[in-house]
Symmetry: C2
């Protein structure tokens, strides 16, 4: 019996965009269920003494990342435009994603956020941008954004981020199967193999 594949993602993360765009197709081929887990990487990085994206703190690594993401998008046939600001603040998107996941369009909404951010260079911290995406799923954005902004929903996101921290997650995307974590878009195949075949 295959185990579910947890996909832990942060909306500011370029490599999470890549995984979000391909995980459903790959998981479907392996008959796996994907559990979408938005979280905030910022608090976890701050705990490690990083006040900005590692790709900004370490510019050589950043230059590599942009080239790498560009060529991976080419390979996947995925639209990409280097954003004019990085990282974007993914807080609002993550809160809305939790509500969208309850309502059944969380994966589609999450992919739409990434597309807005990394293919259209839109600011995903702008509630007008997020509202537009919500409308694209036939939902009234007003009530949905209100629900996303409740204390209970904010607390849920904090708890999910805390769960990520406790699971040993330090970057995004992270794939999780049982207690095992795999960091990075590159490791989707390893996570799938573990979910399907089990340990050993």
């Amino acid at each position: 019996m295959p185990r579910p594949l947890e996909f832990w993602y942060e909306f500011a993360s370029t490599y999470s965009y890549l995984t979000a765009s391909r995980i459903e197709a790959v998981a479907e081929a392996a008959r796996l269920e994907v559990v979408w887990k938005p979280f905030l990487l910022g608090p976890i990085l701050r705990e490690q003494g990083l006040d900005d994206s590692p790709f900004n703190v370490f510019p050589t690594k950043g230059r590599y990342m942009w080239r790498d993401v560009e060529r991976l998008c080419e390979g996947y046939g995925l639209a990409f435009r280097k954003p004019s600001a990085f990282p974007r603040n993914g807080l609002l998107a993550a809160r809305v994603a939790l509500v969208a996941l309850d309502l059944g369009f969380g994966p589609g909404f999450s992919r739409a956020v990434y597309h807005a951010e990394f293919a259209e260079d839109l600011d995903i911290a702008d509630s007008a941008v997020i509202s537009g995406l919500v409308e694209g799923f036939g939902q009234a954005p007003g009530p949905l954004l209100e629900q996303a902004d409740t204390a209970a929903n904010k607390q849920r996101l904090r708890e999910q981020t805390e769960q990520a921290r406790r699971a040993g997650i330090f970057g995004a995307p992270t794939l999780r199967v049982g207690e095992e974590i795999f960091w990075g878009n590159d490791r989707l195949g390893d996570a799938i193999a573990l979910a399907v075949l089990g340990p050993g």
Copy 2:
């Protein structure tokens, strides 16, 4: 005409051990030539403000790395014992590797260094350990270590490290094909594909 695959490695690096152990088999299957490029990651990390391995500076990332390397070694059928000290100083090994590469046993010597370090928990900064490895290739260690210690050979390693820096290398292992670099053991397949198929 396939292009050569450059393998940039640092002896202190766990993930370089993994790549060193499998790159020849993978490259041979693709009929590629591997160019072994030992360099020192320390000076490059120091330039980025890191005075220790990122796996020590960021302990959560470190805990993940040790588990990840352990399970990857299991998967590759590769011996692994978590070293009692990390990172080891790879300076001597890198200097000797340059000489061994000239003499035609550089890849084998490099793999032997990694095995001593990550399967036997030996200190590769100890010249007795390195001498023992050199002897295993039927070479007299005295003259070889002397040659490794010449000003000219030391300068060669500095230059190779400077070449790495100029190529945008910030971690190990890095695979390089033409001007494109791929960081990490995970990306060996991508580098091979580019070397074999060319861009696009």
